[in-house]
């Protein structure tokens, strides 16, 4: 009998502990007004939740470089409001679940006041519930899906980005196909396994004035595109629209050009990795265009050249779009902190939402009501694997 009671008490106690956990835990180091984490001591802790390994490690690694360069510069210039920036870096392994876990860890265990990352749409979406619960703002440097900042009609209060969104890119590319390339017939060959490519396809289709003559699909990790490309080759078209990431895009460009498909190939910022050119083979990357957030050939303002110089000095290579976007994300946080005169999460959130005329590497940014930056886009063109043109296109 005694044993039974002991067991009952033990289980009641355990149940009690369980239910007490979440309600007390979430806000333990939040301040009373506005929630989120407060800045303590002499450092401002910023979290990085990035794809440092896994399928899209290329993006995350580049963004880490961008943020680290920005932090180095900020700290060398005396920090923000006299306080040094300290980075807490987490690898989300290009995995949505890991991204959610990393967001929870950064906000509750490490007490960061703001997060940069993740780099991709899927991982960013996965991180949203945890940052919202913790009331800590996050900026994704390259998550371009429209639904990241706006869920239905509701703006995600703690989510921002330093890049433009998919619908905007799709529209820019459709305009580019219509006006610059005078393409009347388009073929869409898209990745139907990613939100990113589906969003791009939708936006392109609605904005394109010409006719879409053929639609083909591929799936992530496919390597053989001969069957689809054989069909495309036999279609009559002026431009091939290729919404997808660099790994498949590189292979498709190679196989298409080898098969004798000579038409211009249009893509979005998912092409933006040196690997795309390596996989396709430089000689095949001609007449290929993609929307970039930044190009050294078409600098948005005079902060660009010093950034390129500093980057080359630190890493010994040319900065990429992802380096630039992440660099801007860090400076957007700095600007938000300075405008509110406080490095608490709530202040940063407010500062980011009200960001105006921010002079960034990737353009002059004003945050719109949906937490998307308003800025111009660059369509970068390639000849033999080298950037050969850059046209600034306004929406």
């Amino acid at each position: 009998m005694k044993k039974k009671f002991a067991f009952l008490f033990a289980s009641l106690f355990l149940l009690g502990a369980c239910s007490a956990g979440p309600s007390g835990g979430g806000n333990s180091n939040g301040n009373s007004n506005g929630g989120g984490n407060t800045q303590e001591g002499d450092t401002i802790k910023i979290g990085l939740n990035l794809e440092l390994s896994g399928a899209v490690a290329g993006y995350g690694t580049q963004e880490k470089e961008g943020v680290e360069l920005a932090v180095e510069k900020i700290n060398a210039d005396g920090g923000i409001l006299g306080k040094e920036v300290e980075l807490v870096i987490k690898d989300n392994k290009s995995d949505s679940n890991e991204a959610a876990t990393a967001a929870a860890n950064l906000t509750t265990n490490d007490g960061v006041v703001a997060i940069i990352g993740p780099a991709t749409t899927g991982a960013s979406k996965a991180a949203i519930p945890n940052v919202t619960k913790a009331q800590v703002p996050m900026i994704t440097p390259s998550g371009t899906d429209d639904a990241i900042t706006v869920n239905g009609d509701k703006v995600q209060e703690y989510v921002f980005r330093s890049c433009f969104q998919d619908s905007f890119q799709g529209v820019i590319l459709a305009n580019y196909a219509d006006e610059t390339l005078s393409a009347e017939k388009a073929v869409i060959f898209g990745d139907n396994s990613s939100d990113y490519a589906i969003g791009l396809t939708k936006a392109f289709e609605s904005a394109y004035d010409g006719e879409v003559v053929l639609r083909e699909n591929f799936t992530k990790n496919d390597k053989d595109f001969q069957a689809q490309l054989t069909k495309i080759k036999n279609a009559d078209f002026d431009v091939l629209y290729l919404p997808g990431y660099y790994e498949e895009a590189g292979l498709i460009i190679k196989q298409a050009r080898e098969m004798g498909i000579e038409q211009p190939i249009l893509g979005a910022d998912g092409f933006g990795d040196e690997k795309m050119i390596q996989l396709a083979g430089a000689e095949n990357v001609s007449n290929v265009f993609y929307t970039g957030h930044f190009s050294a050939l078409a600098p948005a303002n005079d902060t660009v050249q010093p950034f390129i110089d500093a980057f080359k000095e630190k890493y010994g290579k040319e900065p990429s779009t992802f380096n630039a976007l992440a660099y801007d994300a860090m400076f957007m946080i700095k600007s938000a902190i300075e405008s509110q005169d406080s490095a608490d999460s709530a202040a940063i959130t407010k500062g980011l939402a009200e960001l105006k005329d921010f002079v960034g590497i990737t353009g002059n940014i004003t945050m719109d009501a949906n937490h998307n930056p308003e800025k111009s886009a660059v369509v970068i063109g390639f000849t033999d694997g080298k950037e050969s043109s850059a046209d600034t296109v306004n929406p």
């Binding site: 490690a57 083909e216 591929f218 001969q226 069957a227 069909k231 098969m259 004798g260 396709a280 083979g281």
Partner: protein, 300 residues
Amino acid sequence: MEVMIQQLINGLFLGSIYALMALGYTMVYGIIKLINFAHGEIYMIGSFIGYFLINSFNTWGILPNAWGFFIAMIISMAASALLGVVVEFLAYRPLRKSTRIAALITAIGVSYLLQNVMIYFFSPDTRPFPQAIARKAFSIGFVSVSNIQLLILGISVSLMIILQLIVQKTRMGKAMRAVSVDTDAAQLMGINVNRTISFTFALGSALAAAGGMLIGLYYNSIDPMMGVAPGLKSFVAAVLGGIGIIPGAALGGFAIGLIETMSTALGFSDYKDALVYAVLIIILLIRPAGILGKNIKEKV
């Protein structure tokens, strides 16, 4: 019509790689009734060995172009054969007398182990495979093929023929056939069963490595996860053709390549993998032993 013929040819090239890999599955199954799930990883490691060798040749400035590729391929096949033997010795031999499910689970474990070891040491990044052989396209009438596609088909078919000769004409081949029929009886006749099984793994692994390098050259892209999908599909090919039967594996491989390509050509690209498995299920329902399999009732 012309497009369809081009598509059939596309399917043929894709199928020849599946066929090459399916041979490894089928031989190992034929001899010890084990589905060696680590086979796809041997294919991946084969292509990585080739990648490092050709890159080293380039930096040392020796063996340019095609020669470098073929020598790298032979070394990679030899190294993968050795790896296959080591895997068999460490992972499967101790379980030879255990249940089949234990060996199967070990095979899946080995497969994950090899993937993760490669990811740990060489990062999960996709790498561009050195294009050691310059691509040339030929047009025969309305059909266009490239020298690399012909190379894939040529090497695959010749390796299959060599394999068939080894199995049918040599003493080792005779031993393999004997072990596959009855291990204990073969041992009584003086056949070294362990050596025969090791030899089978070596042969199958060498073929997989050749496939890995050809695919690297063809697609210009290799990564530590590249063995998973082709591994599964060539396993399906082996079952489709009649597992344990060497010509069946080749036939199954070509069939899978054709089904995949034709389903895409007909506008079902979203369902191409589903169609491959649907065909497998149908074959298993109407011909459980596979296309070339004989329906032998097991005595209970």
